[in-house]
Each structure stands twice: as C-alpha cells, then as structure tokens.
Subunit: 292 residues, 2 copies
DNA sequence: CGGGGGCGATACCCGGCGGGTATCGGTCTA
DNA sequence: TAGACCGATACCCGCCGGGTATCGCCCCCG
C-alpha cells in the first residue's frame, strides 16, 4: 500500500464524494475512482458502498480511514523529524501563546545556563496546537496543560500545578467577590463560557464565542461577552477591564513538558534534565539518551 | 514520501550496502541508488554517507530509519486490520503455545456463553510473538505475560497473577528441595538458564540454549541441559523427567489480555467484558465500544 | 607500481502506470 | 421527461520506475 493510495482513500472517505475529494487532491475524478478500485482489489475488500447519489463507508472502510490517518500522520512526522535532524542543531519548543510565561522564561534561562546549550526556537501556538505540532514532528518538545491537552503516546514531565481563576468583565457584580464556585459562573445567562477547539480543531456547539488564543479571550471578557476560567498564572497577562476572582472548585491545571518518546537527541535530553532540575516534579515519565 | 521509498531506505540503512539491499528488495542496484538520491533531494537532507567502500548513516539517516520502521509497521497493520475487517466476523486471539491453558479455556468458554458470541480463532505463538502479531494487526487480542511482554501502546486488562516455579531435571539434587531462591539456581554452572528472544527476535549472549517454545523448553530441561523459571501454571503441562520446585524470590508473572486501543469492534468489546467479568481484575485499562 | 575487483553513480532505454479528457449509465428532481 | 449529478469506463499520453551497460573511485594484492 502506497501513501498516495492512502491519501486518496482518506480524502474520499472524509468527503464521501469522489468529485470533491478529487478537487481537494488536485487531480481529476476518474483517476481517483480507478485508484480506489485498485486499492480495493489489492486489499480484497470493499471499502466504499457506492449507491449512486453518494458514497458510504463499509466496515473495512472505517477501519482503513482510522488506520490511514495514523499512517499519514506518522509519515508526516517522519518527514518533519528527518528534515529537522539534517538542519544545524537547535531545539524547537512549542508553547501556548500568552500562557506559562514566567515558567517558560525560567526554563529557557536555566537551559541556556547549562554547559552545552543549543539555540532554542520558540513556537507560540493557539489553543491545543502544541500537541499536534509535537506529534507531527514539527517541534522537539511542547508545554502542555493538563487536563486540556493529553500526553497519550508522549513522554512527559510535570512542571507545575496551579489553581484556577475566573476572568470577568470589570464592574460585573461577581467581580467583587473574594472567590467563586463553578456553579455560580454557569448560572450567568448573559456571560457564557467560551468554546475551546477540540483535538481535531473543530468547536463544540453552544452559546459562547469560539476561542483561538489568549488575546482574543481577554478582549472578549473585557467587552462583556463572556467569562473564562483560566490558570492562576493568567493574572500576569491581564488587561484593563478584566477582573480576576479565584475559583474554588475548578480542577487544577498542570503544566507539563512533553516530547516524542522515541527521540534520542542530546539537546532534548538536556532540556528535559533542566526541567527536572528546576521544577523538581514527580519524577520523569520517560528517559532520553544519546544520539543525533 | 511514498512507502516504497521508505522500504528502500530502510533496506539500505539496515544492510549498509546498496547491492545487498537491492537483492533483498528484488530489484537492481541502480534504481535503488536513484531512489535514495531522489529521497534525499526531496527531504533536503543527506541520509547516507557514501565513502566508497561502504555506507554509513548520517544523523538524519538514523532518525529516518527509526521513523520509517514505525511507519512501515503502521502500514502493515493498516493493511492487515482492513483486510480482516472485510472478512466474516470472528476474533483472532494470540496466546503463547502451552501457557495459560486453563485460563484460556475459561475465557473462551465464558465468551462462548455470552448472548452474542462470534467464532474465536486461536493463534498459538512462540515466545514473545503475540505482542508483535497484535501490533501488526494480525490478531484482535493477545494474552501477554508481564513482565516479559510489554503493554506499551496497547490497552490491557490484568487477568491473573501467579508465582514462579523452577523446572529442573528429575533427579537433580535441588529437585528434592521444598523451595528455592534465584541465587541457588544461578549458582549451577552446568545447568544454565535458557535464553529467551528479545522484542526484535534476536537472542542475548550467554551460555544457555535459545528457546522458542515450551515443548522445546521442557525437553531441554528433561535432557539436563538447563533449568528454567516459569509461572506456576506450567505445572499443568509437565512431562516426565522434569521436576518442579517453587521459587520464592522470582517476580510474579501477570497474565493480561491486551488489544489495540483504537479498535472499535463489538465482538472484541464482548471478549474484553467477558475477561473483566470472569477474572475480576484491577479494572479495565481502556475502553472499547461500538462499530465494525 | 600496476591491474583487478568491489561498490556506488551515471547513462540510456523501455514498458507500465498514473494522470488527463470524453463519455456512458443510472438515479433523483424539477 | 429532460436535465443535473455522480461515479465508472474508455482511451490516450507522458513520466517515472525498472532494466542493462558502463563509468569512476578506491583498495588490495601480486
């Protein structure tokens, strides 16, 4: 099975329409039909049910869609990691823009003070993007925030755990309170919670605005369009017009440094070791040694 | 990047010799040279250092070898799982030949008594093979034995934990003892421990014989060529000429049922649920629902 | 010191396959 | 019932992956 065939199949399986899939792939429809038919012949399985007026996935089709996506992701990661291994040494670290600023500064300072530092490029991301970049091999390590991100399939090291605060428009009745509970915030009909992107980039349904980054977030709070519940460290990047009140019963947020478990780069090992030394933490969740 | 290119590169990287790699791939050497050169051009990286008289991997080459192997494994798994999803329903369960026999029987009986059973094919494996078959998508589930196998990247459910016994040639001085310690066994110069295959199928160095399956193992013990430390349940498949003595300080063996975390097949979910119900166990390590 | 052998790269050719356009057959809709 | 929509088929072309022959280089050996 060639990756080209997989790309074609995934496109059709996602569009459920040969014409659209072909357009998305930048080819004509007939070669696409032929390629899928050939793939089905080679696998000895029907992948798509064509009942004129549309296309549906068979059981095998569902399986191949899922497996094919992971294969294509692995291929993209392989390309990116190989390409970057050929570049002059240097680490790329992904972090959510406008979050964990002090922690990030402390980590980078401590790493730069090591005996053998390499240049560290910072890749500031929108919500949830770090995890994707890490899995795609576009970055060497990422600062993730549990429980929003997941470390599944990654090695990670816990750096810091903190409580949560509510961001409210200044002057809002609740803004004067010494502390809040989630239920009180949920009861505000005209001040909905924001909607954050899911793992695949789509947004859940609901009344709140769709959020991509922190500046957008604090602006919408200041404008009185929503409230938000963020980690305490969000205090450091406050803007006028936004009030902050601790939330007692929101689950705490843990900032972790995560990296590819298969990585064997010495600079990455240095960064991880620095993180362990600076932030103590609950012991490493994986090991890095030697190499490239 | 096409899987063909990856297969070619992995072959060259493993052989470190274009001619041999080409022979292994069943093509001539020049197209192989050209394909690798083209891959390097597309990635913008040198993968191999050719200094006449041989080939060596560069840093990027090492990375691509590692990544490429995982990609090719993922592709093989995708093909196998898709193909099997197209077959009439049925589960394939991998188990070590001659191990966990009673447990296996109990599991299969209980599953067959469910309201919605499908036929279960049993795939009896040599040591360590189950894990590979599972990861390759050739089977739906496997009985693994911790700490010999690893459940990394798999979902699993603990079924049973048991102590260890030593297998000794009947008539051996230690065979009459009520119990033993590992140190006593290690001190037997003419009765070495067997060597079991590693994850990649190779064997560690050492004095003992290389072991592939349990019949071979008990035969070698009976012939006085080695001793072995096995789970208690090995008693059930004893042969004449072999004595069994409990070992007090060997780490216990846990039998787990493992499966692909991404699997969504209803029959597999039924098998897992059966395992949970029959063996109680420490709660599931993953969830299975719905589908194909 | 010169020739031969081993190895990867290059040159060149051919056939198949991936891509294109044109068109068909079937079905739903206006 | 005509037309639109959609996937399959027919057919053609150019490129690329595969082949053979040969080169260039280096090492080794006589």
């Amino acid at each position: 099975m060639e990756t080209r065939e997989l790309r074609y199949f995934v496109a059709v399986a996602e569009e459920l329409h040969f014409g659209r899939a072909a357009r998305r792939l930048g080819i004509a429809q007939p070669p696409l039909s032929r390629a899928i038919a050939q793939l089905e012949r080679r696998l000895g399985t029907v992948l798509l049910e064509r009942d004129s007026r549309g296309v549906a996935l068979t059981g095998s089709g569902h399986v191949l869609l899922r497996e094919g996506r992971t294969v294509l992701a692995a291929v993209a990661a392989a390309e990116a990691r190989t390409r970057r291994a050929g570049q002059p040494p240097g680490l790329v670290l992904a972090a959510k823009a406008g979050a964990s600023t002090e922690l990030l500064a402390a980590l980078l300072d401590a790493y730069a003070a090591r005996p053998d530092p390499v240049p560290v490029d910072l890749r500031l991301c929108r919500f949830g993007e770090q995890s994707r970049l890490l899995r795609e091999g576009a970055v060497d390590a990422a600062l993730l925030h549990l429980p929003f991100d997941t470390t599944e399939g990654l090695d990670s090291e816990e750096l810091h755990t903190e409580g949560r605060v509510a961001l409210l428009p200044a002057g809002h009745p609740l803004a004067a309170r010494p502390a809040l509970r989630l239920a009180e915030l949920a009861a505000l009909p005209h001040l909905p919670a924001p909607r954050f992107p899911r793992r695949d980039g789509s947004y859940p349904d609901g009344p709140g605005p769709e959020i991509r980054d922190t500046t957008q977030l604090s602006q919408l709070v200041a404008l009185g369009r929503m409230h938000a519940v963020l980690p305490e460290s969000a205090r450091s990047q406050l803007r006028p017009g936004v009030a902050v009140v601790p939330v007692l019963d929101a689950p705490p947020v843990t900032t972790v440094l995560a990296w590819d478990p298969a990585a064997r780069s010495r600079p990455l090992a240095g960064l991880v070791r620095t993180a362990v030394e600076v932030f103590g933490g609950g012991g490493p969740n994986g090991v890095v040694v030697d190499g490239s």
